[in-house]
Amino acid sequence: MKPLFGSVVLDVACRLSVPFIILFAIYVIVHGHDSPGGGFQGGTILAATFILIRMIRQDVKPWGLDRTGALVLACCGLLLYTGIGLLSFLFAGNYLDYGVFPLPLEAGKIRFMGSFGIEIGVSMGVTGVLVLIFDALTEEDSQDDKPGEPT
């Protein structure tokens, strides 16, 4: 693969900024419950790191996240999401009714934990899908794989 933007300056800038971006992403995800933010936004930010690394360092496999990895990540995230939703059936609640989980916490916290799980699932899904979209758009020999898309 021919380098797209490869240069030392960009490389250093990338190295410097990536940890902070990830930190910010995690912050946004974690505080999705009670402040602006959440899984979508956080997942998008997280995906930005992967895409940045791919663009600048020509590393198609940052932290092991190649194409298949992205697919697996997306699927696992969405499975987490649907799984938590389905889990509430076990405790006689409706779908996504995570107030019913028998956790040793106060009622509001239980809802928070449930939606936090959902946010993590969503952010994994969004990250995976966005990376997949990026990969699909930049791949060289075009076999027509289309990415799935998030909820």
């Binding site: 009670d34 602006p36 758009l137 289309k146 998030p150 909820t151």
Partner: protein, 125 residues
């Protein structure tokens, strides 16, 4: 007349954006420009929804804990629903754009053009 326009400025702006988008999608011969126009059109609807929820001096409907803060009166909250909806609409828009770009890349790789007249000509051959 003037008051109609000024009183509902947000509607008129949204309509204008919508029309710009529609015009681009239907008239522009370049497929990428069609796609951009599509995004403009989606933004028009998003703007429309968000403007429905605008409240001058309102705050985000978030419980802020800790000292020094007083919980504002519920009437001061901005309706969060349109924002949540438009977040979803944005995600939908991004996905659509993603799929559309993938299609465009495939078309470009095969035909070497994204101008519709040329494309039609090459498809005939």
């Amino acid at each position: 007349m003037m008051s109609d326009i000024l009183g509902h400025l947000n509607y008129w702006l949204a309509t204008l954006l919508l029309l710009i988008g529609l015009h681009g999608m239907l008239i522009r011969p370049n497929l990428v420009k069609k796609l951009m126009a599509m995004n403009v059109m989606q933004v028009a609807v998003i703007m429309f929804f968000i403007s429905l929820a605008v409240k001058t001096g309102g705050t985000a409907p978030i419980e802020l804990h800790g000292d020094g803060h007083t919980t504002p009166h519920a009437a001061a909250y901005i309706n969060p629903l349109p924002h949540a909806l438009m977040l979803t609409a944005i995600v939908v828009g991004v996905s659509t754009t993603g799929v559309a770009l993938a299609l465009l890349i495939r078309i470009y790789r095969y035909y070497g053009t994204l101008e519709e007249p040329e494309l039609l000509q090459r498809m005939q051959e």
